[in-house]
């Protein structure tokens, strides 16, 4: 019998009545009329069908009026990549389905309609760990088109796992005259406590602000009190589950949005550091990427075989996540020297994340520089990887690669690091 069928099950003198649920095991899972699910082993169970599955009686979504097209409000586009900011629970079956349409999003977060006129579109429906460079490229083109078509700002909903990578990639690929805001949620949108709505509302507010960069807007603290605006190239997910997982590394956030649940029209954006203003940039798209780049984390005892392997497999550039100021074992130096001589750029970043790479302090570092390793300054390893893909799509000249890697393009390199 298929899930959704109403059945009566007799087992050990007890009668259970309810609706069959999908089961991950051999056990029968039944949703009882009191709302509880129970699992029953099929042995000695007599199952009797009462009603067949009737899709007609599927819980009808409550159609709620949503505000669309209010005069005087800016036009924002929400592009969805699979990170859900809205979802609906079917209480009859317990299924949770993500919602993407403009209507669905506005029904779940009607406050968005008080901030802007929203139009929503689905680009991907994937978990963010399944993202890849070619998806970033398509996304960049979509954003470019939206801005070209007059969007006052663009919001991208994204799974949080790799949101930092995407933000970084978009930062290099698009020169934007308007805000491009990535947003996600750490606590699933099927729970009343989800951070999705507040993050989305703050993101919408930022998308209307005087900003012209690719940014990530997420909770600033565990409280529902404000969101930070992080520069796309400087942001990193630093916690597996907490709301304030996203942090700016080696720079202060660009700004913050104070949140008031009772009146979202009163949300104010406070800028905390320098940033590009609306209209500072002319819209440009440089969406080419050399996907064949790798990020390698060094650990004590790791051998350089991995480098040979990666090069053999066709990789065109390598970012190392070294120790401390930017080191790998001295044993690696001959290998690195060889692959660099063969035209494979190697960029050094630090697994400390905080602070800048400086290979002039210790012998190993000096040897690495002599071998041709490019210091990745204070770039995040992930940002350096994405940037290397972007740079290698433009040039294979080793000197030019080095020059570009060490030139600040999208805020990824900070000239001065304050004591944070």
């Amino acid at each position: 019998m298929e899930p959704g069928t109403r059945v009566r099950i007799k087992k050990n003198n007890v009668t259970y009545e309810g609706i069959l649920m999908p089961s991950a095991t051999d056990n029968i899972v039944l949703k009882l009329d009191n709302g509880y699910n129970v699992g029953l082993r099929p042995e000695n169970a007599v199952v009797e069908q009462i009603e067949s599955y009737n899709s007609e009686i599927k819980e009808q979504p409550v159609i709620e009026e949503v505000m669309t097209g209010r005069e005087g409000l800016p036009q924002l586009t929400i592009l969805s990549t699979g990170g859900t900011i809205a979802s609906r629970v079917d209480y009859r079956t317990g299924a949770v389905s993500p919602q993407f349409s403009t209507h669905d999003i506005l029904a779940a977060i009607p406050e968005l309609g008080e901030i802007a006129n929203i139009s929503g579109r689905v680009i991907y429906s994937i978990l963010s760990e399944n993202m890849r460079a070619s998806y970033w490229q398509k996304l960049a083109r979509e954003i470019y088109n939206e801005i070209n078509n007059g969007a006052y700002g663009v919001i991208v909903t994204h799974g949080t796992d790799t949101m930092g990578y995407t933000a970084s990639a978009l930062s290099f690929m698009i020169r934007t005259p308007v805000p491009v805001v990535l947003v996600g949620s750490q606590r699933s949108s099927d729970r009343p406590s989800s951070d999705a709505a507040m993050n989305a509302i703050c993101a919408a507010r930022v998308a209307c602000s005087d900003l012209a960069e690719v940014v990530v807007v997420m909770h600033g603290t565990t409280s529902d009190d404000f969101c930070y605006i992080h520069r796309g190239t400087k942001v990193r997910k630093m916690h597996t589950s907490a709301r304030n997982a996203f942090q700016s590394v080696n720079s202060a956030p660009i700004g913050k949005v104070d949140y008031t649940a009772s009146d979202v029209t009163k949300l104010s954006v406070e800028f905390m550091s320098e940033h590009a203003h609306r209209g500072d940039n002319k819209l440009e798209l440089h969406a080419e990427l050399e996907e064949r780049c790798a990020l390698v984390k060094f650990y004590p005892g790791a051998t350089a075989d991995i480098i040979d392997y990666l090069v053999e497999r066709g990789n065109r550039g390598i970012v190392l996540e070294g120790t401390g100021l930017g080191h790998v074992s001295a044993d690696w130096i001959p290998t690195l020297e060889r692959v660099i001589r063969d035209g494979i750029p190697v960029v050094m970043t630090s697994q400390c994340l905080y602070g800048t790479v400086c290979d002039r302090v210790y012998d190993t570092g000096r040897d690495l520089i002599r071998a041709g390793v490019i210091e990745g300054m204070d770039m995040l390893p992930e940002t350096a990887l994405v940037k290397l893909m972007w740079v290698l799509a433009q040039t294979s000249d080793m000197d030019e690669v080095k020059r570009l890697m060490q030139t600040n393009v999208a805020g990824e390199i900070t000239a001065r690091r304050a004591n944070l």
Binding site: V29, N34, Y36, V62, T222
Partner: protein
């Protein structure tokens, strides 16, 4: 007034929530300890939101309010973690808690599911940081027996306790403490098989005892909460929440029956009179511009009112001790933070007859009408409050509303909210289902605490109690104390059992607060009795004394009550008595003992065991008769 339960058609069920005494919480490794709120390490704020379809409330105003939700402030401790904060996925269901729940289910003769599925039950009052309570159905279809018959036990759920509300601030925000959130508890619901108030109390007591007999449930204030479902013929199902005191259960049942019967009377009365609720809210502020009423001035000076045609005397009718129909209406006004006043109780609150007369003329109200007014600071607050009141007044002419009520300390109850519909539940996908191994059940079954039936049989065999007394003490919560005392001291088991059952019931009925007594004090009573420090007749007197002065020792009680007697004094008194009644003894012979016993008992009742006195007296009398024979 005695209630004829069968005639009113009482159907009642109980729902009991009992915290389990596990080492860690239900979904994380935090200890299950309650904290001093001053020890909170940090706090954070959250909002909760739910789509309209999840709210279940019909009231549009409440719905709009809920969309934006109130501000919730959570206090966290070094004994709480990211799971309570809703910052980390829950761990797996605590196996220790599952075992305790299974044990309780077995003792209640329940059928246990093969696989436990944790659900999310939507709760957006802030008491759960995630906006839902995690709960799992463990067992169904059990039963327990009472003297009045079998009561079915419908369900046993294992769930997480909620955060504790510690403050509601003036700005509408609510402060919760996270220490209690996540403590495992079992929720046990009976079928509506309870037919009398006494039976309700018995069932609650028995459930409490079964829970305690596991030795794995928490004890003390707030660790067990009882809700009662009550309905009568022609009435409505009403759920009364938060009964803390077991002894109140009977009173609550009686008071709710009375309330529903009274409401039915009022309904008939109103229909006979042709009562009518006028939904016309009038601004009466002008009348009270220069009022002497501090209540009105303090509330903000605005007064709005409406007229209930033909309602005179209705609002003043008492439904329960200390609660009139007017109090029921006032509960609704209170939802908007306003008080309610009505002409059944006026003049009062500084409102004068002249002001009442002016109100009456505004509405063209006669003596048979009742005017209800609220004082507030804003028009909308007053109107919202009055609309609630008018709707409830109108309902009084149609019947008794289904509702959730809050138990009050005197056994009455106040309106809380409408009876919730079916709970909105969906699977907690973060917690994998747990299959129950039949071997685990077998193992638990073999180690269950003793059943009542077994214990009663054992008491008859082991201590020679009769059937009636064995049943009473066997089902009593004092059974452990009984066994300990009988094992420790040379005292008659029947006396101990009688004391711990009948005597205590009688004293409680008298109003003696026996809960003040400690087990140690009761031990001491029997220890000193065994040592002949006083006579068994004095036990009720000692209990009464200690209950009133719980910090006194039993020794002190014996002293204070003048129960301590030296046997030499007793002997002297008996000798003197016998000496002074020589002629009577010579006349009656051995039969003189009976009447003389009266004199001796008057002196030593409770101080010396009657049997002992009797034998001493008899000895002296026989000695005298013997000596006389020799003369």
């Amino acid at each position: 007034m005695a209630i004829d339960y069968a005639r009113v058609g009482l159907r009642a069920g109980l729902e009991i929530h009992q915290q389990l005494d596990t080492g860690t919480k239900l979904f994380c490794k935090c200890p299950t300890v309650l904290r001093d709120k001053k020890d909170a390490r940090y706090s954070f704020i959250r909002y909760l939101r739910a789509s309209k379809s999840e709210l279940g409330e019909v009231d549009a105003a409440a719905r709009a309010e809920a969309r934006y939700s109130r501000t919730f402030i959570y206090k966290a401790y070094d004994t709480t973690c990211l799971v309570e904060n809703d910052e980390e996925p829950p761990g797996e269901l605590n196996p220790e808690a599952i075992d305790i729940a299974l044990e309780i289910a077995l003792m209640l003769n329940m059928n246990i599911v093969d696989e436990i599925h944790t659900m999310r039950k939507i709760v957006i009052d802030g008491s759960n940081t995630c906006g839902f309570q995690r709960t799992a159905l463990i067992a169904t279809d059990g039963w327990l027996t009472t003297e009045e018959g079998r009561v079915r036990v419908d369900s046993l759920c294992l769930e997480e306790d909620a955060a504790q509300k510690i403050e509601e601030r003036a700005d509408g925000s609510v402060v919760y403490s996270l220490d209690r959130l996540g403590i495992p508890l079992v929720e046990i619901g009976t079928a509506p098989d309870i037919r009398t108030a006494d039976q309700a109390r018995n069932v609650a007591e028995q459930l409490g005892m079964i829970l305690r007999s596991t030795g794995k449930v928490k004890r003390g204030l707030g660790t067990i909460r009882q809700d009662i479902n009550i309905s009568i013929d022609g009435g409505a199902r009403v759920e009364i929440k938060g009964v803390q005191n077991l002894r109140l259960i009977g009173t609550i049942v009686d008071n709710e029956i009375t309330r529903q019967l009274k409401l039915m009377e009022l309904m008939h009365e109103l229909n006979n009179r042709g009562g009518r609720v006028e939904h016309r809210i009038v601004d009466l502020s002008d009348i009270f511009r220069d009022t002497a009423s501090r209540v009105i001035r303090r509330a903000g000076g605005l007064v709005y009112g409406a007229c209930l045609r033909g309602f005179a005397g209705i609002l003043g009718t008492e439904l329960q001790p200390g609660r009139r129909f007017g109090s029921e209406l006032a509960d609704f006004a209170a939802r908007y933070g306003t008080g309610l006043m009505h002409t059944d109780e006026l003049p009062a609150y500084g409102i004068t007859s002249a002001e009442i007369a002016r109100m009456r003329s505004v509405f063209g109200a006669s003596e048979s009408d009742c005017i209800v007014i609220v004082a507030a600071d804003t028009r909308s607050r007053a109107e919202n409050a009055l609309n609630e009141v008018l709707n409830r007044a109108e309902e009084a002419m149609r019947g008794i509303p289904k509702e959730t009520r809050r138990a009050l300390p005197n056994g009455s109850s106040a309106y809380m909210r409408p009876l919730p519909g079916a709970a909105r539940m969906y699977p907690e996908t973060d917690v994998p289902p747990v299959e129950i191994d039949p071997l685990r059940l077998k193992d638990l079954s073999s180690r269950l605490p003793e059943t009542f039936e077994h214990r009663i049989g054992r008491y008859k065999r082991q201590f020679g109690l009769n059937d009636e007394l064995a049943t009473k003490i066997g089902r009593s919560s004092n059974y452990e104390l009984f066994e300990a005392i009988v094992r420790a001291y040379k005292v008659a088991p029947t006396l101990v059992a009688r004391t711990l059952t009948d005597t205590m019931v009688e004293l409680t009925r008298e109003g003696v607060e026996l809960e003040n007594l400690t087990g140690q004090q009761i031990h001491d009573i029997f220890r000193l009795l065994a040592a002949n420090e006083f006579g068994k007749e004095a036990i009720p007197e000692i209990l009464r004394y200690i209950a009133n002065k719980p910090d006194q020792t039993v020794e002190r009680a014996i002293e204070e009550l003048g129960l301590r007697t030296s046997m030499a004094d007793v002997e002297r008194f008996i000798e003197d008595t016998v000496a002074s009644k020589r002629d009577f003894i010579f006349e009656k012979g051995e039969r003189a003992v009976g009447p003389l016993m009266g004199i001796v008992m008057r002196e030593f009742r409770g101080k010396v065991d009657g049997k002992k006195l009797n034998s001493m007296l008899k000895t002296k009398v026989l000695e005298l008769l013997e000596a006389n024979k020799g003369d």
